[in-house]
């Protein structure tokens, strides 16, 4: 029997009490920074920034916004990136914990632009599933933040591969299943992990949401909508209703206070909506009708994309397109919409009459046409493989730098977080990853993740099992 060596433990040497090799950084930083015992269920991590500085030295820095710095130093303090540059040019604050990242790659935490994290634990078990409210198709007033289970075992496993932020969306089987959240994958509680509530509205069109009518199999069903016509008319009606509600609400707002009081009294309801009724569904749609936040418009096939976009334009919605994996015929049109695209799953099977690599090569085709793209895991099981989706797109023609952007700065821009996330720049949140190689390659291991500048314990339910069953030497 051979002894089994964990890569994390096999690399790096401790140089001094102040200079910590990243192989041991997790454990040491944990003791220094977080008041959590090593044996605790380290799911919730307090990332409240302290004042101590961490200097990561001699790494290859993938800054995203200003190129690659080959022997660079980055300093994290107070939850922010406070300095970055060539090792020779960066002054390390006295007292800083030094992490030697020689031979390592350092990059901003990756952003997964659609997951179901925290909405289900074991997929086959419906009891713990809050993936989607199946009783109605049009439910914009469903808020993912009401169900998000911050202590899910899946989050540490996801961030173990360098993912630090994500959009959590309801399952996409309804035309309008609810509003998404933008999360950070560590925090002392649910509230600190939810960065933005109601960051976007999920909207789906095409084959997938016909579950109500056609059982998702293309067969005749009993519920509405059972066709694409039904889906669009349902969406249009919901948006029209909300528009009407918005107009009435504005009228009520203009009335003198006494009139409003009368109305409230006569209906017995409070809240200030038209006729006194505060309608959750219509209220939920108002920011989207005003173009304040994006709808995430999911469609796979070219003709579906066109129809859904026509509807979005009719109501002047701000759009992020989602999926588009079988839209090869309308690539130029997608570019002309001037909207960003979450592309994938890249492992979608090609349709009939599509070449075996038609889906794989689409990100490159979109990027060539100037479309801003982001990748997503669309998963709770395979989130940790998010970077490989981008790598796969590189294999089929997407320039490497663009693939990295599609996991960092592009989604940061899409979700209104570009001032805080998505690159290694001074002033941004210190969500930083150290890995032993190319982040997009399956062979690479992440050595340390920082969130808010705090070293996250590189421990998961799976590493605990691994260590428990590791053969004794």
């Amino acid at each position: 029997m051979r002894s089994f060596v964990i890569p994390q433990q096999s690399e790096g040497i401790c140089f001094s009490s102040r200079l910590i090799s990243i192989g041991h950084a997790a454990a040491v930083a944990l003791l220094l920074v977080t008041p959590v015992s090593l044996h605790a269920q380290a799911r919730m991590v307090d990332t409240t920034p302290g004042s101590a500085a961490i200097a990561i030295t001699n790494g290859k820095l993938l800054t995203i916004t200003h190129g690659v710095i080959e022997h660079g130093t980055i300093v994290l303090q107070g939850g922010k990136i406070v300095a970055i540059g060539a090792a020779s040019s960066v002054k390390i604050p006295s007292g800083a914990t030094k992490i030697d990242a020689t031979g390592m790659t350092v990059y901003p935490g990756l952003i997964d632009s659609e997951t179901n994290l925290g909405l289900v634990e074991i997929e086959s078990d419906r009891v713990n599933s809050d993936l989607v409210e199946t009783s109605e198709e049009i439910y914009p007033q469903m808020h993912v933040y009401d169900a998000f289970h911050a202590e899910t075992e899946r989050i540490p496993i996801d961030r173990f591969n360098g993912v630090t932020n994500a959009i959590v969306a309801p399952e996409s089987s309804d035309t309008m299943p609810g509003q998404d959240i933008f999360i950070q994958l560590a925090g002392r509680d649910r509230d600190t992990m939810i960065v933005t509530k109601d960051v976007a509205l999920a909207m789906n069109f095409g084959q997938e949401p016909k579950r109500g009518g056609r059982g998702g199999e293309g067969g005749a069903g009993r519920g509405f909508p059972s066709t694409r016509m039904g889906e669009i008319s349902q969406l249009r009606q919901a948006l029209l209703d909300a528009q009407e509600y918005m107009v009435k609400k504005a009228e009520v707002a203009k009335k003198p206070a006494s009139a409003k009081a009368d109305e409230t009294e006569s209906t017995g309801r409070k809240g200030g909506g038209p006729t006194g009724k505060f309608d959750l569904r219509n209220e939920a749609l108002l920011p989207y009708l005003r173009g304040e936040r994006p709808v995430i418009l999911g469609a796979y096939e070219g003709h579906d994309v066109e129809v859904a976009m026509a509807l979005a334009q009719e109501f002047h919605l701000k759009v992020v397109l989602n999926h588009v994996t079988h839209s090869q015929d309308v690539l130029d049109k997608i570019a002309a919409y001037k909207v960003p695209v979450i592309f994938g799953p890249i492992y979608d099977f090609p349709d009939a009459n599509e070449r075996y690599d038609a889906v794989y090569s689409m990100p490159a085709e979109l990027q060539k046409r100037g479309v801003k793209i982001a990748f997503a895991s669309y998963s709770v099981e395979f989130n940790r493989n998010l970077p490989y989706a981008a790598g796969f797109a590189v294999a089929y023609g997407l320039p490497y730098d663009e693939a990295l952007k599609a996991l960092t700065i592009n989604p940061a821009e899409m979700w209104g977080m570009a001032d805080k996330l998505g690159s290694l720049d001074i002033g941004k949140t210190a969500n930083v990853v150290i890995a032993n190689g190319d982040p997009l390659d399956v062979r690479t291991s992440v050595k340390q993740v920082y969130i808010d500048g705090v070293a996250i314990p590189m421990e998961t339910r799976q590493t605990r099992l691994r260590d428990e069953y590791m053969p004794k030497k």
Binding site: M1, F4, S124, F349, G391, V442, R443, Y469, M470
Partner: protein, 441 residues
């Protein structure tokens, strides 16, 4: 081994003529100047592989190929043996499970095999040359598998792996419980699962004795013997007891590996491989003693209760415990990139390139029982070879050319549908992915 690229429209006479003509015309093939990853004897930089009559005739820094051989310059490229998926339900359409009884050993996957399933072509484009097509997991004793070579575009019988051993699929755990429990039938518990199996083997023992007695008497020259009734189910189980069928078991949990091994000892058969086997890291040393292999996922987890303790280090930890480990897809999606699944073993557990590659070539070949023919680049083996653009274990690897028995079945440089055989055989259609239900991982 050489064979005409027929459309099936040819007359028998033309076919016979073509076979003869092409058999004489096909020259030797040399793939040269590549990084050759042999699996069994290291990696040869700037190596060559010589193919003669569909077999590997030489491999090394230089080969003794005759003048006139077709030469493919693979400078800067990588060559591996064809990838082998030991767990697939492709090309079986909706006939993956005979879910009407928990014991259906007479089911033959070959009777459902649909050689036109595009999933096979998509797998081929990922470098996969051999697949074990298995019954699904609805039944404790499912049915008999078929082994194929991924010669997409050829006739059904031409895709069958010649003289491959026969396998039978068993399943335990949640799936049979769910399928039959939901109908209020046995088995609805793990106790029920194993009771069903024991009864089946008790019946098979009686059946086998009946036939053994008959054959013994026949051999002694006894006359007027009554021929025993032939029962296809019991016949298959009797073959399991006699070791004539490889036993492949869908099984997730550590306790179940032990129960299954105990049952195998009780009835005197051997388990060739546990499939899925996500908890093997807990008991690998015990299972290694029985020389039972595993066909596992690289990093699947948490999709059901019995996959909750899955860890991506399982494969490498089990390997270090002495278990022969293969990776498999169980998926029309992931079969297209098993090479990257193997690459993850470098990430999770620090496998060497050769150890990782072995998990998708020689080890699955052993599970299927064809490791003497495929799974490594060795003289005398079938010329099932893949040329990759870069290191096949990286995210960026694409299969450029795939040869099976020395014949080119996939070429990424071709436009349209991308393979000589495919172009010759079909004019319409495409590569629509099969959304057919998987075997119920």
């Amino acid at each position: 081994m050489t064979r005409p690229r027929t459309t099936g429209l040819a007359t028998f006479c033309f076919l016979a003529f073509a076979v003869q003509a092409i058999a004489q015309a096909v020259p030797d093939l040399v793939l040269k100047n590549a990084t050759v990853m042999t699996v069994t004897h290291g990696t040869i930089e700037h190596g060559s592989v010589w193919v003669h009559n569909g077999k590997i005739a030489g491999v090394g820094a230089t080969v003794a190929a005759p003048a006139g051989a077709t030469v493919v310059d693979a400078t800067g490229k990588f060559i591996t043996p064809g990838i082998i998926d030991p767990h697939s339900h492709s090309a079986l359409g909706n006939d993956v499970n005979e879910a009407t009884s928990p014991v259906t050993p007479s089911m033959m996957m070959i009777d459902a095999f649909d050689n036109s399933d595009k999933a096979l072509y998509q797998a081929l484009a990922g470098g996969v040359t051999t697949e074990l097509l298995l019954h699904g997991s609805a039944n404790m004793i499912g049915g008999q598998a078929v082994v194929i070579k991924n010669k997409f575009g050829l006739a059904r019988e031409e895709m069958l792996f010649p003289n491959a051993p026969r396998s039978i699929k068993f399943a335990s755990g949640e799936n049979p419980k769910r399928v039959y429990g939901s109908r209020n039938q046995v088995p609805s518990t793990r106790m029920g699962n194993f009771e069903v199996m024991r009864q089946a083997f008790e019946d098979a023992k009686v059946y086998r004795k009946e036939w053994d007695d008959y054959n013994a008497k026949l051999a002694k020259g006894d006359k007027d013997l009554k021929v025993p009734h032939r029962d296809l189910k019991l016949e298959a189980l009797a073959e399991v007891l006699s070791g004539k069928l490889y036993v492949q078991i869908h099984c997730y949990r550590a306790d179940e590996f032990l129960t299954e091994e105990a049952l195998a000892h009780e009835y005197g058969y051997k388990i060739r491989a546990f499939h899925h086997a996500l908890e093997m890291y807990k008991v690998g040393d015990k299972i290694a003693k029985d020389d039972t292999a595993i066909a596992t996922f690289a990093d699947w987890w948490g999709f059901k209760d019995e996959a909750w303790d899955a860890i991506p280090w399982n494969a490498v930890m089990s390997m270090h415990e002495g278990v022969r480990v293969a990776l498999k897809s169980d998926s029309n999606d992931q079969v297209r990139r098993l090479n990257q699944e193997a690459g993850k073993m470098i990430h999770y557990g620090g496998a060497t390139e050769e150890e990782a590659l072995r998990m998708i070539t020689l080890n699955p070949a052993w599970i299927i029982g064809v490791d003497d023919k495929v799974g490594s680049i060795d003289t005398g083996k079938d010329a099932d070879l893949v040329i990759w653009n870069v290191d096949p274990l990286s995210t960026y690897a694409r299969a450029e050319k795939v040869y099976i028995d020395g014949d080119l079945f996939f070429d990424s440089s071709l436009k349209g549908f991308g393979t000589t055989h495919f172009n010759g055989v079909m004019h319409t259609g495409g590569f629509g992915g099969s959304d057919d239900e998987e075997g119920g991982n």
